[in-house]
């Protein structure tokens, strides 16, 4: 193994197609035009000394170490800022250059501590390397002069010295070690796009300053880690490196947080994880990261993790730790008993979007082959099921059309119902980079989110629509495009059904769909709708990115189709820089859908009623498969309450916290006789479980995740599972206990079975992933290397289908009792139900869920910032603290659902998408009133949770 050393070429790659040949130290090298001499030289294998250059950011030319001599030119230009020219003859090492470099290094070192042996960067310090490279043997200037190194000089205070800033939980800033190369400042600006760092002062007094000379935690810093990665010294260092030491080997793997699917190097010392460093060859993230993937992995070793299987007779009993064998035989006999007693359809399972493709495939296989029914569903039910349905109907595939690189060529970016800056931060950084290059941004969101108002990337149009009016507003955009003749007739005639287009065009052109009419119900000024439509249709490459603000509505599927219509009508499908892209919430929600997790679909989105498809699996699995779709999650819960559904196997999902109408979920779970929860922690759902199977983290297993761009990325085991088994092994052992003949020795064999049975995965294998790094499905004979862009040359379904999108207002309406609309969302530092991030230092950024409320609504109710308020809907009530802000419009309130003690889903109702049952999380009519503290439900719930987490023979586990 060993540490993966990525080559730092010093400056970014040039995208020019024209090649230029030059000579560096007598070697000829050919590179694209616009490449720097430094990069060209590195391509030839010659590393020019450098400090301020790194290939994640543009050349800066400040360290004066990378100077070279060029034949026929005066002086010693810096190789990072000088582009190559044909026939150039470069010398990187002459006696003159050596003298200059040594002199520069002497100056650097004269103001740098000489504590290398005890320094955290020892062994990973570019300053140390450069001192070695230039042959520094002595510093003529001495160390006694003016400096930033020592707190005291000659017994007096040294006003230039600044203490170490340890405010950030994950890294430290030690100004005494800073060489002011600006790499951190530029990484924050160019890579992350937050601009939280600057150089304050000038000349010798210059120092890096977070915010306005503030500690990191008080500045605008979002803790993405780009600056720490860029720092060539120990000035910015991960606290884990300070604590443990330098890593000795690394493994490339995929982050298990959001649907961006960033590639990381897990840098290890033995089986201890030292740090996660984004991998530059990762095609989703291109060397960037966010606070979650980079730093928030501490949950893997958190004391709350359960490592032994547990069983109990009743949910009111304390847990009893048992052997794996006992747990499996208990489940097998219970499930068989329930099926014997209540029928074969009385049990089912839920696959996890957090687990690997292979694990998901096994869970649905267990249910279909072992339980002999189709009662399998997944958490995509509550997030992107409308995407699958909507895009399937219009285009013919249930996935986004582009890769993330495509955003680099977008001219107009429309973000609908998503806040990538918080939910998909690495994609947001790539998007903002493109906006800073001149692309335009349109945002449809009820709130003024970080995405609307980010530094140097402000939205050109923000359409602050009333929650629940997506269909109306998107149809109004289409109205403008059709009535003003902005549609792309050639594209539509070639690739879509023209008569369907005419029908749709006639529908959207009706006056009731005009921006002026829609303004009345959505609250968006007509002029903004018109302006946004014109910009999207005529601004060049138009790319749409959307999130859960689109899907989690009673008309979620309709909005997805409206978006698809918009892209087709303007010809924005089927090439780079355009497309329709769902920003998927979870690391493997795309994969879990691909793997046949829905009750009506076998892997590859093939309906269970298709005889040909069932034949494939029936032959392989040696069973007869049910040709009727099984139960969806809400149906399972309904059936449980009715008494016809009695047992469930839930892998890696906390339905009690994440699904709507918590009381109904609780009632359903409570009515079951055997609830099996397979998870890392005793989550909220486990309060109602009879068997708990400990899970393994993404660091402890092999497998693959499929991200939002359909990219299949490898997950690699970096440490042994602390609970003994990877999740796929647990499912396999359970299947064996139930009498199935499964003998997978490695997840690659599971993927082989997927490839063998699923046309869109036909060419996928671990060998191919090893070779290519990653591939995007479809990956088969027609596309052996995968498919970065879909629908090139024509739609998958044949002709693109325009579908009328009639706006139907949700039944969830405000009235005198519940006059405000609640909408929900996420914030950067926490992830989903927070099971992982709440068990890391990320809680320092977001320790509780707050209710955002407009000052007008707050004042009417006598609510001040920070007050406890009661939040009530017709489904239930909870209490949390208020945050008075103008980010939400009057009449709208907003909260996150990261903390179980808030239980925002006690409030949300059972309304759902008409096509897919995706719950309407984004609209709930509520009332807000002052309160003294947590509600009675919250207190009862907490007591019940505490009771149900007791483990026999152990002191009560503290949360």
């Amino acid at each position: 193994m060993g540490l993966i050393q990525e080559i730092d070429y010093g400056t970014p790659a040039s995208k020019s197609e024209k090649q230029v040949t030059l000579t560096v130290d007598g070697f000829e090298v050919t590179v694209p035009e616009g490449t720097s001499i430094m990069r060209a030289s590195m391509e030839a294998g010659i590393a020019i000394p450098k400090l301020c250059a790194t290939d994640m950011v543009d050349a800066f030319g400040s360290c004066r170490l990378c100077l070279v001599e060029i034949e026929g030119r005066n002086g010693t230009p810096s190789s990072c800022t000088t582009p190559v020219m044909p026939g150039m003859v470069v010398k990187t090492q002459t006696s003159r250059l050596k003298d200059i470099r040594r002199g520069v290094m002497e100056l650097y070192i004269s103001d740098h501590p000489l504590d290398c042996l005890t320094c955290a960067a020892n062994g990973d310090c570019e300053l140390q390397d450069m001192a070695g490279a230039v042959g520094l043997r002595d510093v003529r200037y001495g160390y006694e002069g003016d400096n930033h190194v020592r707190a005291k000089a000659d017994g007096a205070e040294n006003f230039r010295w600044m203490p170490k800033d340890e405010s950030n939980p994950y890294f430290t800033y030690d100004p005494s070690k800073c060489i002011v190369c600006s790499r951190c400042v530029r990484a924050c600006e160019e890579v992350q796009g937050t601009f939280a760092l600057t150089i304050e002062g000038r000349g010798f007094g210059s120092r890096v300053s977070p915010g306005m000379h503030q500690p990191f935690m008080e500045s605008e810093c979002v803790s993405c880690g780009a600056c720490v990665q860029a720092c060539p010294t120990a000035t910015l260092t991960e606290k884990s490196v300070i604590q443990i030491g330098q890593p000795e080997h690394s493994v490339v793997t995929t982050c298990a947080y959001c649907g961006v699917g960033c590639s990381f190097k897990a840098e290890m010392r033995g089986d201890e994880l030292v740090r996660m460093v984004p991998w530059k060859d990762g095609k989703a993230n291109r060397g960037h990261s966010c606070v979650k993937g980079r730093f928030a992995y501490g949950y893997a070793t958190h004391k709350d993790r359960i490592l032994n299987p547990m069983v109990r007779e009743k949910v009111t009993d304390p847990w009893r730790e048992v052997s794996w064998e006992e747990a499996f035989s208990h489940i097998a006999s219970e499930f068989r008993r329930i099926q014997y007693q209540y029928g074969k359809n009385a049990i089912g399972g839920i696959t996890s979007s957090r687990c690997t493709n292979e694990e998901t495939y096994l869970v649905q296989k267990l249910i279909r082959q072992g339980f002999r029914n189709n009662n399998v569903d997944t958490c995509a039910r509550v997030c992107h099921s409308p995407t699958g349905y909507g895009l399937g109907q219009t285009y013919g595939t249930s996935a986004g059309t582009q890769d993330f690189d495509s955003v680099e060529e977008a001219d107009v970016i429309m973000v609908i119902g998503a806040n990538p800056s918080a939910g998909h931060p690495v994609f947001a950084s790539r998007m903002k980079k493109r906006i800073r290059q001149g692309a335009k941004l349109i945002v449809l969101d009820p709130r003024e989110t970080e995405t609307v108002n980010s530094v140097h990337a402000k939205a050109d149009f923000h359409l602050p629509l009333k929650p629940g009016t997506n269909v109306a507003v998107v149809t109004a955009l289409a109205h403008v495009i059709v009535t003003e003749g902005l549609f792309d007739e050639k594209f539509i005639r070639e690739r879509c059904d023209w008569s369907e287009f005419e029908d749709w065009a006639a529908f959207v052109a009706e006056p009731r769909n005009s921006p002026e009419e829609i303004e009345k119900l959505s609250g968006v000024p007509a002029e903004k709708i018109r302006g946004a439509a014109r910009l999207y249709a005529r601004g060049g490459n138009g790319a749409i990115y959307y999130g859960l603000g689109v899907t989690e509505h009673s008309q979620g599927s309709t909005t997805v189709m409206a978006i698809a219509n918009l892209a087709m009508a303007t010809g924005n499908v089927g090439r780079r820089g355009v497309g329709v892209n769902p920003l998927r919430g979870q690391n493997n929600v795309q994969g879990s859908c691909d793997m046949g997790s829905f009750p009506h679909e076998l892997p590859g989105y093939r309906h269970v009623s298709g005889d040909a498809v069932r034949d494939i699996y029936e032959a392989l699995w040696n069973v007869t498969l049910d040709n009727e779709p099984g139960l969806r999650i809400p149906n399972m819960l309904d059936a449980a309450v009715e008494g016809t559904f009695r047992g469930i196997y839930i892998q890696g999902e906390d339905i009690l916290q994440s699904d709507p109408d918590t009381k109904h979920v609780a009632a359903g779970l409570a009515a079951m006789e055997c609830v099996v929860v397979h998870d890392l922690f005793l989550n909220e759902t486990a309060n109602y479980a009879h068997v708990f199977l400990p899970g393994s983290t993404f660091l402890e297993k092999d497998g693959t995740f499929t991200n939002a761009e359909r990219r299949i990325n490898r997950v690699r085991k970096v440490m042994a599972p602390k609970n003994g088994y990877a999740d796929w092994e647990v499912t396999q052992l359970l299947a064996q206990a139930m009498g199935l003949d499964w003998n997978y020795a490695h997840p690659s064999e599971i993927m082989d079975e997927v490839a063998k049975t699923t046309p869109s995965f036909a060419n996928v294998s671990y060998a191919l992933l090893e070779q290519k790094g990653s591939v995007q499905w479809p990956c088969n004979e027609q596309a052996p290397d995968g498919t970065p862009i879909m629908h090139v040359g024509g739609f998958v379904r044949g002709k693109g289908k325009f579908i009328r999108t009639e706006y139907v207002a949700t039944d969830e309406k405000t009235g005198p009792r519940f006059p405000l609309l609640l909408t929900t969302g996420r914030i950067l530092s926490q992830y989903n139900v927070g099971a992982q991030t709440r068990r890391t230092a990320n809680v320092l950024w977001h320790a509780e869920d707050r209710l955002e409320i407009h000052p007008h609504d707050a004042e009417q109710r006598g609510i001040r910032d920070g007050d406890w308020v009661k939040l009530q809907s017709r489904a239930g009530e909870t209490a949390l603290r208020a945050l008075v802000t103008e980010r939400v419009a009057a009449g709208v309130v907003y909260t996150t659902f990261h903390h179980p003690d808030t239980q925002a889903n006690v409030i949300t109702t059972d309304y759902s998408d008409w096509a897919t049952n995706c719950p309407e999380y984004k609209v709930t009519a509520v009332q807000v009133s002052p309160s003294n503290g947590p509600s009675q439900w919250q207190e009862e719930y907490e007591e019940q949770a505490r009771q149900s987490r007791r483990i026999e023979g152990r002191l009560e586990a503290a949360e």
Partner: protein, 157 residues
């Protein structure tokens, strides 16, 4: 006299709104703020940043780069003594020492009574009349001890 934070922000907003239409508005705005308050109060930085869609850090970087922008109020008068090469060759070292002695303060300091702030400056473009100084924006050339005593007395009035 100490202004309340909101008052400062309100007054800064007026200046920002007035000047933000200019091309490259940050420096004119900072000049306007300094003119209004006598220094650039740190509370105004987020106001400027938000209006110009910059980060607080960026504005802080610019403010601290320029010596002319102060982070605290100056004395009633500001006296700048040129310390650049031409003036040095004509004895600005002596001028600096003399004025420091007369006022009882060093560079970057303000007299206890708040009468005057003393600062070095690197070239006023008045080399022909070196050694030179600038008092409240008015250049003074050919400084000698007598002139310095006059200045010292005048600023104390």
């Amino acid at each position: 006299m100490q202004h309340a934070g909101t008052d400062i922000a309100d007054r800064a907003t007026v200046i920002v709104n007035d000047l933000m239409g200019l091309e490259g508005p940050l420096l004119p705005i900072l000049h306007g703020i300094q003119h209004e308050f006598g220094y650039v109060p740190s509370e105004t930085l987020p106001v400027i940043a938000e209006a110009l869609n910059l980060s607080n850090a960026e504005v802080h970087g610019v403010v601290t780069f320029y010596h002319d922008y102060r982070n605290h109020p100056a004395g009633r008068h500001v006296l700048k003594i040129c310390q650049a090469e031409a003036c040095q060759s004509m004895g600005s070292d002596h001028v600096a020492a003399k004025i420091k002695q007369l006022l009882g303060i060093g560079f970057h300091e303000t007299t206890r009574d708040g009468a005057v702030t003393l600062e070095p400056v690197y070239c006023l473009g008045l080399c022909a009349c070196a050694p030179a100084a600038m008092l409240d924006g008015v250049p003074i050339g050919r400084l000698d001890d007598e002139a310095l005593e006059e200045i010292s007395a005048a600023v104390r009035l």
